[in-house]
Symmetry: C2
């Protein structure tokens, strides 16, 4: 840079990608993911430019710079890639300047090539003065690099209180101890997050009975989301589930198996919650002085008081909720499923998540908001690691293609990490009402392969529980939210999805192509009942043998649970990384069948009685 009298920079740097919300929120990545930075860079005239990408990992004081290369000169587009090598806040920026020496050298070369000049005309003729390089620097973009689990995770939700009260040895145990006893089975099934509904004391006032009955009988356990009683609130463990010590033991046992115990952050209170008397100002009051319960007319939730984030005591309330979260972090919880975050202020979540991650950097927050797209995106932007999605209701091939194309491309893919759930305790989706277990199987196959993170609410899902509470509701009949359910008999009798789960999850863990969303590409089929898509490792397609774990995966799912479907596929060879002029191999990792395909239009067939999907590992011999 020259002194203050130098002219303003002649360069323009614009159209920087990736960015989230025009740079107001960090771009999301997990460790090991590449960040391919693009920028439109140009100056007036025809001078040669130098464009460099600067990258500053967390803690670094200096910018590491690498040259960007021109990927589309007609559009003035430049690119370079860095890999997010560590968790934390990375920064990147683009810097560019006019390369006067290169401009002169290339003009000279063109003149010599055109025969206008001879090289000897320019002997020892470096131009008198190189103008100082007036560099231009882009704005700085932040990249929030998280632990891999924020992107790739496999969730199992269960109600501890429904587990058998006696262990195999016949001795009575608490439900939390029973969960610990399930961990080996869940690990064998390939789950790495076990999510428990709220484990806190449940209120007595207005407690709901089975099937959301307005009144409960003496033995009814109540909804775990009606949090708080004389026993305690959000930092207490319900006596009927066990003790805090049981919980700590459970977390430790899970940890040994690389499983995270996820807790539910449901920031609401039963009328019996200690805060109701200790902090009445945190709730909204009616003119008669009573506290306003939750309602969504004509529905009334008399067992739940929402917290009032508009209260004048909002600062105390925020602090208390951070204290709750920190309490569980301090007890080893690193994954939270957050209940209805879209009914609390975005600014609150931004503040809470930032504070938690400052002390506990690897903490993962899953936003349970089945809300409008702008709301979902905003929750992701303010810091949620993962979001529940509309996958639950996307059934047909066009719906799935449209939705996952949106999720896997910018701007969504840089901010929102989907977690696909075929069911939840609140949602038995209409297409699974009275559906055969083959319908559950195909939804499982879709969730496990389309989305890097997915989860099921089991064992209801495992056994294909398909009875809704009514024709016009997606609530389960005899929902576990309001009563205990014993699944032992159904699990033992079968059929269950557990063998398929185990296989799918094992393939997911081994095949790194399934760890990413960014490389998802849909391929054509001539039958709308079959959906076909591929994924490659984020390092790009690999069909050679040097990185066997990074092979390209090609998935075909039969969306028809009732009958066999066949189709000719129309594959995009470039997306698969194969040379279509030579044969290539496709091994179905689910059934073991191996095919050699000639050309890009193989024929496939799926019988739902046998398997919901093909999970082809695609490889090709290196050219001889």
């Amino acid at each position: 840079m020259t002194g203050p009298t130098s002219a303003p920079s002649r360069l323009v740097i614009e159209g920087l990608t990736p960015r989230v919300d025009e740079g107001r929120h960090p771009v999301k990545r997990v460790v090991g993911e590449p960040v391919t930075v693009g920028a439109t860079v140009f100056a007036d005239g025809h001078d040669w430019l130098r464009v460099v990408l600067g990258h500053r990992p967390p803690g670094a004081r200096a910018w590491a710079e690498v040259a960007m290369h021109s990927v589309n000169p007609g559009l003035d587009r430049w690119e370079a890639t860095f890999v997010a090598g560590a968790t934390g806040l990375h920064r990147f920026r683009v810097r560019a300047w006019i390369d006067h020496r290169a401009t002169w050298r290339h003009a000279l070369a063109r003149k010599v090539a055109a025969g206008v000049d001879q090289p000897s005309d320019h002997e020892g003729e470096p131009p008198a003065r190189w103008p100082a390089a007036e560099a231009a620097t882009s704005t700085t973009v932040e990249v929030d690099v998280d632990v891999e689990r924020a992107l790739f995770s496999t969730w199992y939700e269960l109600f501890p209180r429904s587990l058998p009260s006696k262990g195999p040895d016949g001795r009575v145990r608490t439900p939390l101890v029973a969960v610990a006893a399930e961990l080996d089975e869940l690990a064998a099934l390939g789950f790495d997050v076990v999510y428990l509904p709220p484990i806190h004391p449940i209120g007595r006032s207005f407690r709901k009975g089975p099937n959301n009955a307005a009144t409960a009988s003496a033995g009814d356990p109540g909804s775990p989301w009606a949090i708080g009683s004389a026993e305690g609130g959000h930092t207490a463990v319900a006596a009927e589930l066990g003790t805090l010590a049981d919980f700590k033991d459970l977390v430790a046992a899970a940890d040994e198996r690389s499983i995270a115990i996820a807790l539910d952050l449901a920031f609401q209170c039963s009328p019996d919650h200690p805060w109701v008397t200790q902090h009445p100002e945190w709730f909204r009051h009616r003119p008669d002085g009573s506290i306003q319960y939750a309602e969504n007319p004509p529905k009334r939730y008399q067992d739940i008081y929402p917290l009032d984030f508009d209260s004048s005591q909002w600062e105390e309330l925020w602090a208390a909720l951070l204290e709750v979260t920190s309490f569980w972090c301090d007890h080893g919880v690193s994954v939270f499923r957050v209940d209805n975050p879209h009914t609390k202020p975005f600014a609150f979540w931004e503040w809470l998540i930032a504070h938690v991650r400052q002390r506990h950097p690897g903490t993962v927050f899953l936003a349970e908001a089945f809300a409008r797209p702008a709301v979902m995106a905003r929750l992701a932007q303010v810091g949620f690691s993962q979001n529940y999605t509309y996958f639950t209701w996307r059934v047909s091939a066009p719906e799935l293609v449209e939705y996952f194309t949106e999720l896997s491309t910018t701007p969504s893919v840089d901010e929102l990490r989907p977690n696909a759930w075929p069911n939840t305790p609140d949602i038995l989706p209409w297409h699974l009402h009275h559906a055969p277990i083959e319908a559950f199987a195909l939804r499982l196959a879709l969730a496990a392969t389309l989305s890097p993170s997915y989860g099921v609410y089991g064992p209801a899902f495992d056994v294909g529980e398909n009875r809704p509470a009514g024709n016009d509701t997606e609530e389960y009949l005899d929902s576990e939210k309001y009563q205990t359910r014993s699944w032992t008999t159904a699990l033992r009798a079968g059929p269950t999805l557990r063998p398929l789960m185990a296989q799918l999850n094992q393939i997911r863990h081994r095949q790194t192509a399934l760890h990413t969303l960014r490389t998802l590409r849909f391929h054509g089929t001539d039958n709308q009942s079959l959906i076909c898509f591929s994924k490659t490792d984020h390092r790009g397609p690999s069909v050679a043998s040097d990185r066997p774990e990074a092979a390209t995966m090609l998935v075909v799912v039969n969306l028809d649970p009732g009958q066999s479907q066949a189709a000719t596929l129309h594959l995009d060879a470039a997306e698969l990384g194969v040379d279509p002029s030579r044969p290539f191999d496709a091994v179905d990792l689910l059934c073991g069948d191996a095919y050699q395909w000639h050309g890009t239009e193989p024929w496939v067939r799926l019988d739902p009685a046998v398997a919901p999907a093909h999970l082809f590992r695609v490889t090709q011999e290196a050219r001889a």
Copy 2:
């Protein structure tokens, strides 16, 4: 707003449109154009929102606010429109808050409707406390509102020195006086901008001869773009064209006819320009001390020295160029065609145009840059009122549809105003090489109807001059850039396009639908040789008789100059504003034929020997 202890706003306002370059540059409009503002606005929860658009015209101190209406609740999208009523910098912003009273009222109404509550339950029960309205306010967006001519203008470029040296009375006159004598004819043809190549003294050193010959003979006039001689530089009038007084008379005569005389701002110098000796530091020097001339290897332009914007004396240079521009503004020039702006710094133009428009607000700048898209857009963003376009080379229907769809939709339509030229003194495009005059006619019809601003380089265009300087160049043979050409004989003998020009321009002036780009919509045809599009007045489709000047225009152009072409059109009735279940009228304003169409698939035919286009005025009787 409550005091400093109120919680952060719960509202999000994002996705504000229109904006240019994420708000870094003003949105462009001309007087009378509507600005439809869109915003995505939402909060957590389910409260009712109030969203208002604030508009602050130039000079106003207060925001005039109007309610925005929800146009897509699922996408949280809100809209409202204001009209840019005066030139200058307008501002808009969006403000939103939670309407607690409406939230309460609507919840109550739902409860009563659901039979849960009776109205009497709530007698005199306004809730105890309305939380203060925590309003959120968006960033402020600027809208640069220009004179109508910045959008809608009809240009004619001519070389004064080629006009007959004697007037009809047989008396010798200067070329500038000859231009004044042409004004009645040009006004009758419907042009409102007459653009003259540089009128300044032409250098002698390295003067080019006819057809860009390296040496000139004694009588050769040289290129007007080789500016400057001992007579003077950019503020002088070449003696061979007339005097400054002649020029002032010309401007005044043009003004009487509502014609603007446009000058060429070509910021470069011949070796004889006074600045070369007065300010050698404004030029780039070779090691041997000589000044570097312009070159684009293997081409050399020894008659032209570029200015060095990287010079340490850049501030003096900028000031001198502003002085040049201001000089001509002070002499009544309000329209400039800027030569090669893309070879001078963007920051320079931003500064120059802002300064000129501060003193002379109605000044229009046309950027002559046939450069890459990012460069074109940037020139528009830094203040150019209009840009030359790639129209010159867009020939086929798909090319034209793609390009004009891009130009007429965001982001382009909010920043770049196209000026479509079928030819220029530099460009006889390849598709007009040796082409019949019918080819020129169809290009004229396209330019005049697709783009609110268009221009021709005449009289070469009027007479269909079609001889290139060679097979591999788009330069004209015997280009007027290097020699004078007499067009009198050709214009008199015919055929010429002048009758068609007069008709097209008259229709353009009368039909306000042709004054805008924003409403351009393409309709289907079953013959790629016929292109079909419509435009409506920016106030929306009008087919009734209340605003006859604002009728919807439907244009069909035959892209085949060689033979008749027919097609069935596939019209979008909604875009035309007609009810397709009733007959509607289409009058071809070019030939006068009137049709009554039943349905949206009329059949049309165009014979290039008769007319290049249909310009239908579409109307429909109001329902009885």
